[in-house]
Symmetry: D2
Subunit: 164 residues, 4 copies
């Protein structure tokens, strides 16, 4: 996967160099899929991936989705936006173990000028291990709510996939 031609960031931007680097992301219609293995650091003494780590995995997907959308999160922050989380939810169905090959699939479930909702599904070789969602509010560097620009909404709305 590479950032699409004509999209931000423009050539010469530091983010551009990463094209030579093996990405872990694939695009499936309006969904983005990323993959990694469970780290030993992420296990706990129950012998499974600790529950808070799933929110980190959601964040990995979110970063990959935003890069795929031509709005990499570092570039987004350079525009003066932050995207703090206001609500998060996870359902755990089956444990993930050390070294398991994990895939996270994610998409945008709702997009408004002042709110975005991402949805996620965590899989291992086709089996769903967990799912969840997060709601974010765009704010400026001063911490105040700041609506997405029309340009940003335009880039992101391609990825909306309503639930159901």
């Amino acid at each position: 996967m590479s950032i699409r031609q004509g999209d931000a960031p423009q050539p010469g931007h530091p983010l551009e160099h990463t094209d030579a680097w093996p990405e872990r992301v694939s695009i499936e219609g309006r969904r983005v899929r990323t993959c990694f293995r469970v780290r030993y650091a992420e296990t706990d003494q129950m012998g499974m991936a600790y529950y808070a780590g799933y929110l980190v995995w959601f964040e990995v997907l979110r970063g990959d989705l935003m890069r795929a959308a031509g709005t990499p999160y570092p570039w987004f922050e350079e525009q003066g936006y932050l995207l703090p989380i206001v609500e998060a939810h996870v359902r755990y169905m089956a444990p993930a173990r050390y070294d398991d090959p994990i895939e996270v699939v994610g998409w945008i479930e709702e997009l408004r000028s002042r709110k975005v909702r991402f949805a996620y599904r965590v899989e291992r070789l086709g089996e769903t291990l967990a799912d969840g969602w997060t709601i974010h509010i765009p704010v400026g560097q001063d911490g105040r709510a700041r609506g997405f620009s029309q340009e940003l909404l335009g880039r992101l709305e391609h990825w909306i996939l309503a639930p159901g």
Copy 2:
């Protein structure tokens, strides 16, 4: 705070030695309160505590509540139980910063033979920063559902505080 007289674990048990150690826990009726400072490791480049860390803070409270209930989690695991999470929810209201003095208040919102629901509130000097809940299912070492014993239900039901 110390583990109550007559409660498990019994004298001579390794957990007993901790009485000489300064606990961070206080008991408020059916609620337990614990405190700690935000670690630098827990901040992110937004300059606030990273969102997954709140689930870790919930876990700290859960461990302190179970110790207060006379059923310390290590003892619970020695009885052959694990208590994996099946659902987690967090609402983030205001950011926590590095070194902030954090207090987490928690209680049991629902207790059944095969399910327990904990509720949490994260505070800084009286201000609510976040709240949330987690649902857990008791299982045996083999990963199969295993109802709480009557003795365990008896110890834990003291801490039930219904919502609303």
Copy 3:
């Protein structure tokens, strides 16, 4: 423990409010001691505290030492300093387990205008579990080396305890 009278930060500073809050720190001559319990999040599937977490524990001690020295790290950052790590070392002697009451003792082993070296010892009920050290270089917000001011050196040199 409370920040000493006459020391920075001055009354009215947000850090001042924490006096009403139970600190976990004690001062032993030129050493500072802090305590906490091992979190479930910090364990791994070997059933012990994961090795990277000891660097987090060192950081907790460092923050407590700097607060005890009248130079709380947030105040230090407000003065335009950062204190990145250039070298870290840990020796692991015995495993720490979930819920273990951990104490970290630390001191300044070397202090120069452009370098500070902290030393640490991790204990459980008197037994040494690990020790280590970190070297830090003061830099400005621009990332360039920036020597400690005479005032800062004056506050910190009280805590120097040479090895051996």
Copy 4:
């Protein structure tokens, strides 16, 4: 990369299924190279990757090296071995930022029946950001020292690359 033919684990073993999954690992003579992006969770309020995270990155490389050696760590644990760390060292040269494409290169620097020393270098697009090493002692499930079997030594010695 895939586990080499004829090596453990044998066909039918659960680890075998991962051949269909995109690995992030490449082999360069006696070195193994792995890659990933810096997670937001790994940053701190200095705006760079937090220092303890480098030990997690070392562990990712270690897991990939052991899989490349035909001795995947989960299989190693199934044989009744654990490989706790007794010493760790890191030198930090340049900061890593969120979303940076990170590569970790690692090899075995010393291998004895009762000790193994891994070395690591963390790179970003060819620039060295950090290096370090870890020393491990093989132990049995009972926590007692247990020498590597001849078979294990045979598999691992292919990866020894002496310093200098």
